[in-house]
Amino acid sequence: MTQPPHVLAIASAGGHWVQLRRLSPAWAGCRVTYVSTDPQLRSSVLADPGDAAEVRFYAVKDANRWQKLRLMVSLLQIIWIMLRSRPDVVITTGAAPGFFALRLASWMGKRAAWIDSIANAETLSLSGQMAGGRCDLWLTQWENLADPDGPSYSGSVI
Protein backbone atom coordinates (compact mmCIF):
# COMPACT_ATOMS: atom_id res chain seq x y z
CA MET A 1 0.00 0.00 0.00
CA THR A 2 1.36 3.42 -0.90
CA GLN A 3 1.70 5.96 1.85
CA PRO A 4 -0.68 8.95 1.87
CA PRO A 5 0.82 12.23 0.60
CA HIS A 6 3.00 14.19 2.98
CA VAL A 7 1.90 17.83 3.28
CA LEU A 8 4.04 20.55 4.84
CA ALA A 9 1.59 23.22 6.03
CA ILE A 10 3.41 26.38 7.06
CA ALA A 11 2.37 29.86 8.28
CA SER A 12 3.54 32.56 10.65
CA ALA A 13 1.72 32.64 13.99
CA GLY A 14 -1.35 34.90 14.29
CA GLY A 15 -3.68 35.60 11.39
CA HIS A 16 -1.72 33.55 8.84
CA TRP A 17 -1.83 30.53 11.14
CA VAL A 18 -5.55 30.90 11.95
CA GLN A 19 -6.21 30.85 8.20
CA LEU A 20 -3.97 27.83 7.58
CA ARG A 21 -5.75 25.77 10.24
CA ARG A 22 -9.09 26.55 8.62
CA LEU A 23 -7.84 24.76 5.50
CA SER A 24 -7.00 21.54 7.33
CA PRO A 25 -9.84 19.39 5.89
CA ALA A 26 -7.95 19.69 2.57
CA TRP A 27 -5.26 17.39 3.95
CA ALA A 28 -7.52 14.88 5.68
CA GLY A 29 -5.93 11.45 5.51
CA CYS A 30 -2.49 12.90 4.72
CA ARG A 31 0.67 12.93 6.75
CA VAL A 32 1.11 16.55 7.88
CA THR A 33 4.09 18.53 9.08
CA TYR A 34 2.97 21.87 10.50
CA VAL A 35 5.48 24.69 10.79
CA SER A 36 4.88 28.03 12.51
CA THR A 37 6.69 30.71 14.46
CA ASP A 38 5.25 30.23 17.96
CA PRO A 39 6.38 27.10 19.87
CA GLN A 40 3.27 27.43 22.04
CA LEU A 41 1.13 26.30 19.10
CA ARG A 42 2.53 22.78 19.39
CA SER A 43 0.14 21.56 22.07
CA SER A 44 -3.00 22.67 20.24
CA VAL A 45 -1.81 21.08 17.00
CA LEU A 46 -1.01 17.76 18.63
CA ALA A 47 -4.22 17.86 20.66
CA ASP A 48 -6.31 18.49 17.55
CA PRO A 49 -4.81 16.59 14.59
CA GLY A 50 -8.12 16.73 12.72
CA ASP A 51 -8.40 13.98 10.14
CA ALA A 52 -4.70 13.86 9.35
CA ALA A 53 -3.06 10.43 9.30
CA GLU A 54 -0.02 11.70 11.15
CA VAL A 55 0.91 15.11 12.56
CA ARG A 56 4.22 16.76 13.40
CA PHE A 57 4.96 20.31 14.49
CA TYR A 58 8.08 22.44 14.21
CA ALA A 59 8.58 26.03 15.37
CA VAL A 60 10.94 28.34 13.49
CA LYS A 61 12.21 31.83 14.26
CA ASP A 62 9.77 34.63 13.56
CA ALA A 63 11.08 37.33 11.26
CA ASN A 64 9.83 40.02 8.93
CA ARG A 65 11.60 41.33 5.88
CA TRP A 66 13.49 43.99 7.85
CA GLN A 67 15.09 41.55 10.28
CA LYS A 68 17.84 40.10 8.08
CA LEU A 69 19.64 38.02 10.68
CA ARG A 70 16.45 36.48 12.03
CA LEU A 71 15.31 35.82 8.47
CA MET A 72 18.53 33.92 7.88
CA VAL A 73 18.02 31.77 10.99
CA SER A 74 14.45 31.11 9.95
CA LEU A 75 15.60 30.12 6.43
CA LEU A 76 18.19 27.68 7.80
CA GLN A 77 15.61 26.11 10.09
CA ILE A 78 13.18 25.68 7.20
CA ILE A 79 15.89 24.18 4.97
CA TRP A 80 16.60 21.64 7.70
CA ILE A 81 12.90 20.82 8.15
CA MET A 82 12.36 20.47 4.39
CA LEU A 83 15.36 18.16 4.02
CA ARG A 84 14.39 16.12 6.99
CA SER A 85 10.68 15.74 6.28
CA ARG A 86 10.80 15.65 2.44
CA PRO A 87 7.15 16.65 1.92
CA ASP A 88 5.36 15.93 -1.36
CA VAL A 89 3.47 19.23 -1.21
CA VAL A 90 3.95 22.59 0.54
CA ILE A 91 0.88 24.65 1.43
CA THR A 92 1.22 28.13 2.89
CA THR A 93 -0.85 31.18 3.81
CA GLY A 94 2.32 33.30 4.35
CA ALA A 95 4.25 35.17 5.27
CA ALA A 96 8.11 35.04 5.09
CA PRO A 97 8.58 31.44 6.39
CA GLY A 98 5.93 30.21 3.97
CA PHE A 99 7.66 31.96 1.11
CA PHE A 100 10.96 30.28 2.01
CA ALA A 101 9.33 26.84 2.10
CA LEU A 102 7.67 27.51 -1.23
CA ARG A 103 10.97 28.44 -2.91
CA LEU A 104 12.71 25.42 -1.40
CA ALA A 105 9.89 23.20 -2.64
CA SER A 106 10.42 24.32 -6.21
CA TRP A 107 14.17 23.75 -5.91
CA MET A 108 13.52 20.27 -4.54
CA GLY A 109 11.09 19.50 -7.36
CA LYS A 110 8.09 19.42 -5.03
CA ARG A 111 4.74 21.09 -5.57
CA ALA A 112 3.68 24.19 -3.65
CA ALA A 113 0.53 26.27 -3.15
CA TRP A 114 0.37 29.89 -1.98
CA ILE A 115 -2.93 31.11 -0.53
CA ASP A 116 -2.60 34.86 -0.07
CA SER A 117 -3.95 36.13 3.26
CA ILE A 118 -7.53 37.36 3.40
CA ALA A 119 -6.01 40.51 4.95
CA ASN A 120 -4.93 41.55 1.46
CA ALA A 121 -8.17 42.73 -0.07
CA GLU A 122 -6.88 45.41 -2.42
CA THR A 123 -3.40 44.32 -3.41
CA LEU A 124 -1.61 41.02 -3.03
CA SER A 125 0.96 40.89 -0.21
CA LEU A 126 4.55 41.49 -1.26
CA SER A 127 5.48 37.87 -0.60
CA GLY A 128 2.29 36.83 -2.39
CA GLN A 129 3.40 38.78 -5.45
CA MET A 130 6.82 37.17 -5.28
CA ALA A 131 5.25 33.71 -4.93
CA GLY A 132 3.54 34.08 -8.30
CA GLY A 133 5.29 32.09 -11.00
CA ARG A 134 7.24 30.20 -8.36
CA CYS A 135 4.45 27.92 -7.20
CA ASP A 136 2.06 25.46 -8.81
CA LEU A 137 -1.12 26.87 -7.30
CA TRP A 138 -1.41 30.60 -6.65
CA LEU A 139 -4.59 31.76 -4.93
CA THR A 140 -6.05 35.01 -3.66
CA GLN A 141 -9.03 35.09 -1.32
CA TRP A 142 -10.54 38.12 -3.05
CA GLU A 143 -12.29 37.77 -6.38
CA ASN A 144 -11.35 41.33 -7.37
CA LEU A 145 -7.65 40.37 -7.26
CA ALA A 146 -8.00 37.29 -9.45
CA ASP A 147 -6.40 37.65 -12.86
CA PRO A 148 -5.75 35.30 -15.81
CA ASP A 149 -2.05 36.22 -15.55
CA GLY A 150 -2.12 36.40 -11.78
CA PRO A 151 -3.57 34.46 -8.87
CA SER A 152 -6.85 32.58 -9.14
CA TYR A 153 -9.77 32.82 -6.78
CA SER A 154 -11.46 29.81 -5.28
CA GLY A 155 -13.27 31.11 -2.23
CA SER A 156 -11.87 32.16 1.13
CA VAL A 157 -11.15 30.80 4.60
CA ILE A 158 -14.35 32.32 6.03
Binding site: P5, V7, A13, G14, G15, H16, W17, V18, Q19, R22, L23, S24, P25, A26, W27, A28, C30, D38, Q40, L41, S43, S44, N64, D88, V89, I91, R111, A113, I115, S117, I118, A119, N120, A121, E122, T123, D136, L137, L139, Q141, S154, G155, S156, V157, I158
Partner: protein
Amino acid sequence: MIFLTVGTQLPFDRLAQAMDDWCAQNARTDIRVFGQLGHLNGDSYRPRHFEWAEKISPDTFNTRVKEARVVVGHAGMGSIITAMSFRKPTVIMPRRAHLGEHRNDHQYATMARFKSRSGIFAVEDSPMLAQRLDLLLTTPDTAAGEVGNGVAPFAEDRLIQRLSTFIHNG
Protein backbone atom coordinates in the same frame (compact mmCIF):
# COMPACT_ATOMS: atom_id res chain seq x y z
CA MET B 1 -14.82 41.24 30.42
CA ILE B 2 -13.64 43.28 27.46
CA PHE B 3 -10.71 41.69 25.66
CA LEU B 4 -8.42 44.04 23.77
CA THR B 5 -6.07 42.54 21.18
CA VAL B 6 -3.65 44.26 18.86
CA GLY B 7 -1.78 41.11 17.83
CA THR B 8 1.57 40.00 19.18
CA GLN B 9 3.99 42.00 17.07
CA LEU B 10 3.61 45.74 16.74
CA PRO B 11 2.36 48.01 19.51
CA PHE B 12 -0.75 50.06 18.75
CA ASP B 13 -0.50 53.02 21.11
CA ARG B 14 -3.53 54.89 19.77
CA LEU B 15 -5.87 51.99 20.53
CA ALA B 16 -4.20 51.08 23.85
CA GLN B 17 -4.54 54.69 25.00
CA ALA B 18 -8.13 54.99 23.75
CA MET B 19 -9.01 51.91 25.78
CA ASP B 20 -7.15 53.25 28.82
CA ASP B 21 -8.95 56.60 28.57
CA TRP B 22 -12.29 54.81 28.36
CA CYS B 23 -11.41 52.78 31.45
CA ALA B 24 -10.37 55.92 33.33
CA GLN B 25 -13.68 57.59 32.54
CA ASN B 26 -15.70 54.52 33.29
CA ALA B 27 -14.29 53.53 36.64
CA ARG B 28 -16.83 50.76 36.84
CA THR B 29 -16.10 47.60 38.69
CA ASP B 30 -18.59 45.44 36.86
CA ILE B 31 -16.68 45.33 33.62
CA ARG B 32 -13.03 44.36 33.55
CA VAL B 33 -10.65 44.84 30.66
CA PHE B 34 -7.68 42.74 29.68
CA GLY B 35 -5.35 43.61 26.81
CA GLN B 36 -2.74 41.88 24.67
CA LEU B 37 -0.61 44.81 23.56
CA GLY B 38 2.05 43.30 21.30
CA HIS B 39 5.80 43.77 21.47
CA LEU B 40 6.23 47.14 23.22
CA ASN B 41 9.13 49.55 22.75
CA GLY B 42 10.66 51.72 25.45
CA ASP B 43 8.38 54.63 24.59
CA SER B 44 5.23 52.61 23.90
CA TYR B 45 2.08 53.57 25.76
CA ARG B 46 1.56 51.46 28.88
CA PRO B 47 -2.05 51.49 30.11
CA ARG B 48 -2.63 52.22 33.79
CA HIS B 49 -6.32 51.48 34.11
CA PHE B 50 -6.53 47.90 32.92
CA GLU B 51 -4.57 44.67 33.12
CA TRP B 52 -2.46 43.75 30.12
CA ALA B 53 0.35 41.58 28.79
CA GLU B 54 2.52 41.94 25.71
CA LYS B 55 1.73 38.44 24.55
CA ILE B 56 -0.45 35.63 25.82
CA SER B 57 -0.33 32.04 24.52
CA PRO B 58 -2.58 31.07 21.59
CA ASP B 59 -4.65 28.86 23.92
CA THR B 60 -5.10 31.65 26.45
CA PHE B 61 -5.96 33.98 23.59
CA ASN B 62 -8.82 31.72 22.52
CA THR B 63 -10.04 31.44 26.10
CA ARG B 64 -9.96 35.22 26.53
CA VAL B 65 -12.00 35.71 23.36
CA LYS B 66 -14.44 32.99 24.35
CA GLU B 67 -15.01 34.53 27.78
CA ALA B 68 -15.24 38.13 26.58
CA ARG B 69 -18.47 40.04 26.35
CA VAL B 70 -16.93 42.38 23.79
CA VAL B 71 -13.69 42.04 21.81
CA VAL B 72 -11.82 45.19 20.82
CA GLY B 73 -9.05 44.78 18.30
CA HIS B 74 -6.90 46.09 15.51
CA ALA B 75 -8.11 45.00 12.06
CA GLY B 76 -5.93 41.88 12.02
CA MET B 77 -7.42 38.71 10.59
CA GLY B 78 -6.37 36.52 13.53
CA SER B 79 -8.34 38.74 15.90
CA ILE B 80 -11.32 39.12 13.55
CA ILE B 81 -11.66 35.44 12.60
CA THR B 82 -11.26 34.24 16.19
CA ALA B 83 -13.80 36.77 17.48
CA MET B 84 -16.26 35.83 14.72
CA SER B 85 -15.85 32.14 15.39
CA PHE B 86 -16.99 32.73 18.99
CA ARG B 87 -19.75 35.08 17.76
CA LYS B 88 -18.50 37.99 19.82
CA PRO B 89 -19.44 41.61 19.23
CA THR B 90 -16.17 42.96 17.89
CA VAL B 91 -15.03 46.56 17.70
CA ILE B 92 -12.16 47.05 15.28
CA MET B 93 -9.87 50.03 14.80
CA PRO B 94 -7.51 49.74 11.82
CA ARG B 95 -3.83 50.56 12.06
CA ARG B 96 -2.93 53.43 9.74
CA ALA B 97 0.27 53.72 7.73
CA HIS B 98 0.47 57.53 7.89
CA LEU B 99 0.49 57.31 11.71
CA GLY B 100 3.31 54.76 11.61
CA GLU B 101 1.06 52.01 12.94
CA HIS B 102 1.76 49.56 10.11
CA ARG B 103 3.78 49.48 6.92
CA ASN B 104 0.72 49.96 4.73
CA ASP B 105 -3.03 50.53 4.96
CA HIS B 106 -4.20 46.95 4.43
CA GLN B 107 -5.98 47.04 7.81
CA TYR B 108 -8.06 49.96 6.60
CA ALA B 109 -9.07 47.89 3.56
CA THR B 110 -9.87 44.95 5.85
CA MET B 111 -12.10 47.18 7.97
CA ALA B 112 -13.91 48.43 4.87
CA ARG B 113 -14.59 44.86 3.77
CA PHE B 114 -15.71 43.50 7.13
CA LYS B 115 -17.59 46.38 8.73
CA SER B 116 -20.88 45.42 7.10
CA ARG B 117 -20.90 42.01 8.81
CA SER B 118 -23.20 41.74 11.77
CA GLY B 119 -21.34 41.81 15.04
CA ILE B 120 -18.44 43.82 13.61
CA PHE B 121 -18.23 47.50 14.49
CA ALA B 122 -15.63 49.66 12.82
CA VAL B 123 -14.26 52.69 14.65
CA GLU B 124 -11.55 55.07 13.52
CA ASP B 125 -10.66 56.96 16.68
CA SER B 126 -10.93 57.20 20.44
CA PRO B 127 -14.31 59.02 20.66
CA MET B 128 -15.89 56.53 18.27
CA LEU B 129 -14.52 53.66 20.33
CA ALA B 130 -15.94 55.08 23.57
CA GLN B 131 -19.30 55.70 21.95
CA ARG B 132 -19.47 52.19 20.52
CA LEU B 133 -18.44 50.55 23.80
CA ASP B 134 -21.03 52.51 25.76
CA LEU B 135 -23.66 51.46 23.27
CA LEU B 136 -22.68 47.79 23.24
CA LEU B 137 -22.51 47.58 27.01
CA THR B 138 -25.96 49.07 27.45
CA THR B 139 -27.58 46.88 24.82
CA PRO B 140 -29.13 43.90 26.58
CA ASP B 141 -28.49 41.68 23.54
CA THR B 142 -24.79 41.78 24.05
CA ALA B 143 -25.10 40.47 27.58
CA ALA B 144 -25.28 37.04 26.01
CA GLY B 145 -22.11 37.91 24.20
CA GLU B 146 -23.31 36.28 21.02
CA VAL B 147 -24.50 38.75 18.43
CA GLY B 148 -21.88 38.12 15.78
CA ASN B 149 -22.90 36.34 12.62
CA GLY B 150 -20.39 33.62 13.31
CA VAL B 151 -18.37 31.63 10.85
CA ALA B 152 -18.17 27.97 9.94
CA PRO B 153 -15.25 26.17 11.61
CA PHE B 154 -13.42 25.69 8.30
CA ALA B 155 -12.78 27.44 5.00
CA GLU B 156 -15.29 27.48 2.14
CA ASP B 157 -15.80 24.04 0.58
CA ARG B 158 -14.63 25.07 -2.86
CA LEU B 159 -11.30 26.25 -1.44
CA ILE B 160 -10.85 23.02 0.54
CA GLN B 161 -11.74 20.99 -2.56
CA ARG B 162 -9.31 22.92 -4.76
CA LEU B 163 -6.48 22.30 -2.31
CA SER B 164 -7.40 18.69 -1.75
CA THR B 165 -7.40 18.05 -5.51
CA PHE B 166 -4.05 19.83 -5.75
CA ILE B 167 -2.56 17.68 -2.99
CA HIS B 168 -3.74 14.39 -4.44
CA ASN B 169 -3.64 15.00 -8.19
CA GLY B 170 -1.29 17.89 -8.74
